[in-house]
């Protein structure tokens, strides 16, 4: 039997989290087929075919799949499920939306957000915002799994797997796409960025967030993140949120500015390689996990740091 991995992509490009989820899928030991679902998604399918270890790419290309709505995509995956003993997806908005629907339709219990494959039926996953790690064994006939991609290295590229079109499944006709509002940004994407600068409530306003955090991020070539407190206060959009209920990231460098370090935030970034904390409260919990701490006024320190980094990059 084989493993099916749902690719994360926007039709034109394959999201790098797919290569990370592939590493988890390969660890199950069976041949991995990558499923690309979209409309005009040939480019994403070709990119998936290059990933090392992929045995085959399945391309479901139809207007029905243009926005990857849960109802038709789950129906498609269920139509293919008979050929697989494991179905995986990265824990993205799409994966988290679609896979539990697939699991229930197959009458299996999903294993969410795995961080390690211990054995083909045994996995580690965080609970309580990562304050405990559960090891769970699934006896289900079909394993349905979402993957916390920050915990897995990306598979390499150099493959040329075959791309096979698959038939469109019946349309459940329950939901319709009305519109979307996607922020356009030249910055790296938060979930897969190598460098991240995050701001917290201490920024005080949306204007300050924009004026202080974003120049530092741009000097570094970093993605921008935010604490839940900053998002709740309206300083930053929700999809910048790092933490238990936002994105979980593990960049090479995470700079936390004006973030005290609530456990829910730490849950989203504590696996970063190097953590820098800038905060005026020297007792802030963030300093307990930071590799480099700088105590002081962020409105003075961050512009200095931005200038130093611009100079260093010269």
């Amino acid at each position: 039997m084989a493993t099916l991995l749902l690719a994360e992509h926007d039709d034109a490009t394959l999201n790098p989290v797919t290569a990370r989820a592939l590493t988890a899928a390969l660890a199950l030991g069976a041949p991995v087929h990558v499923l690309v679902v979209g409309a005009g998604a040939d480019a994403a399918a070709q990119a998936a075919a290059k990933l090392d270890g992929v045995a085959e790419v399945l391309l479901a290309d139809a207007p029905l799949y243009a926005h990857r709505l849960a109802e038709p995509v789950a129906a498609l995956i269920v139509s293919l499920a008979g050929d697989y003993d494991a179905i995986l997806a990265p824990s993205t908005a799409v994966g988290k939306n679609v896979l539990p629907r697939v699991a229930a339709l197959l009458d299996v219990m999903q294993v969410s957000d795995i961080i390690k494959v211990v054995a083909p039926d045994t996995f580690e996953r965080p609970i309580y915002a990562g304050n405990a790690i559960q090891t769970v064994r699934s006896g289900e006939a079909t394993k349905v799994i979402t993957v916390r991609t920050a915990s897995f290295a990306a598979a390499g590229e150099g493959n040329s797997a075959a791309v096979r079109p698959v038939a469109v499944a019946a349309d459940p006709a329950l939901s319709r796409f009305k519109g979307e509002d996607i922020a356009q940004s030249d910055r790296p994407e938060l979930a897969s960025a190598r460098l991240i600068v995050s701001g917290g409530r201490a920024l005080g306003s949306q204007e300050n967030f924009h004026a202080v955090i974003e120049p530092l991020a741009d000097a570094l070539g970093a993605a921008v993140g935010a604490s839940r407190a900053a998002v709740d206060a309206g300083y930053a959009p929700n999809d910048w949120q790092v933490g238990q209920t936002g994105k979980v990231v593990a960049p090479d460098l995470y700079v936390a500015v004006g973030i005290s370090g609530a456990i829910q935030h730490l849950a989203g970034m504590k696996d970063s390689k190097v953590i820098v904390a800038i905060n005026k409260d020297e007792d802030a919990p963030i300093f307990q996990i930071a590799d480099f701490g700088l105590v002081g006024d962020l409105f003075q320190i961050v512009p200095e740091l931005t200038a130093e980094i611009a100079k260093a990059k010269g």
Partner: protein, 249 residues
């Protein structure tokens, strides 16, 4: 229309949990418990739809052992009309089993909308709403930041990676809540008193004919690998020097 709101009793958001030394789980004795924060948002949204004249009745339902009725009572104090308690021996019923129990309740109650929290902050599964939608054959609007019912449909704006997506769902439908949907109210003292008189019907998985035996075996629960603090630096210049040495710049 009637709205059903499933709510879960979880360890309070502010409690720092402790893992039991023998690896058998998380210490839950004498720990402050509360309604899952995303479920408070779900209750609030249902109440706002009732106050706007869209909904006629808000029913709160919870699955769990002794004291789960306290959480249902919290929903009633916020303003829900009545409660249903599916009593179990143990806490921690898996999302698939909860979804099966909720399906039975939906079949009894006939709501047009079920609003759930997107994820519980204890097991962090993020599954129940999607599973319930699948079992009922209903559409799902997950991670909602806006819910606007219209004639026979509901328009849901969803928090997705990179921004927002709006979908229109046929009713009946499932909605799961994200953080920005609303800010839940606090129950006032008079409403807490009033809630004591509101009815909570009790049932069991056996009465509903649902097998809730776990499908996953939890082999162990452990502390995550610790991370210790590093050094304090005095200036931006010193920080940049250190970051160069660490090889991240």
């Amino acid at each position: 229309m009637k709205i059903l709101v499933p709510v879960k009793r979880v360890v309070d958001y502010n409690v720092k949990i402790r893992v039991k030394a023998d690896g058998s789980g998380v210490e839950l004795t004498n720990i402050k418990m509360s309604m899952n924060p995303f479920d408070e948002i779900a209750v609030e949204e249902a109440l706002r739809l009732k106050e706007a004249g869209t909904a006629t009745e808000v029913v709160a339902v919870s699955v769990g052992p002794a004291k789960t009725d306290e959480t249902i009572r919290t929903a009633l104090a916020m303003g829900a009309d009545r409660g249903i308690w599916v009593k179990t021996e143990e806490a921690g019923i898996e999302p698939l089993a909860v979804a099966k129990l909720l399906k039975k309740i939906v079949e009894q109650e006939g709501p047009a909308l079920v609003i759930l929290g997107k994820q519980a902050i204890d097991d962090d599964c993020n599954q129940t709403g999607q599973m319930l939608a699948a079992l009922l054959g209903w559409p799902q609007g997950t991670f909602a930041s806006k819910v606007a019912p219209a004639d026979g449909t509901v328009e849901v704006t969803r928090e997705i990676d990179g921004g927002l997506q709006t979908v229109s769902l046929n009713l009946p439908a499932i909605v799961t809540t994200d953080l920005r949907l609303n800010e839940p109210r606090y129950a006032s003292l008079p409403n807490i008193m009033k809630a004591k008189k509101k009815p909570i019907a009790e049932t069991t998985p056996a009465e509903l004919g649902v097998d809730i035996a776990p499908r996953l075996a939890v082999l162990s629960t452990t502390e995550p690998a610790g991370r210790s603090g590093g050094i304090k630096v005095a200036s931006a210049t010193e920080l940049v020097d250190n970051l160069k040495k660490a090889g991240v710049l």
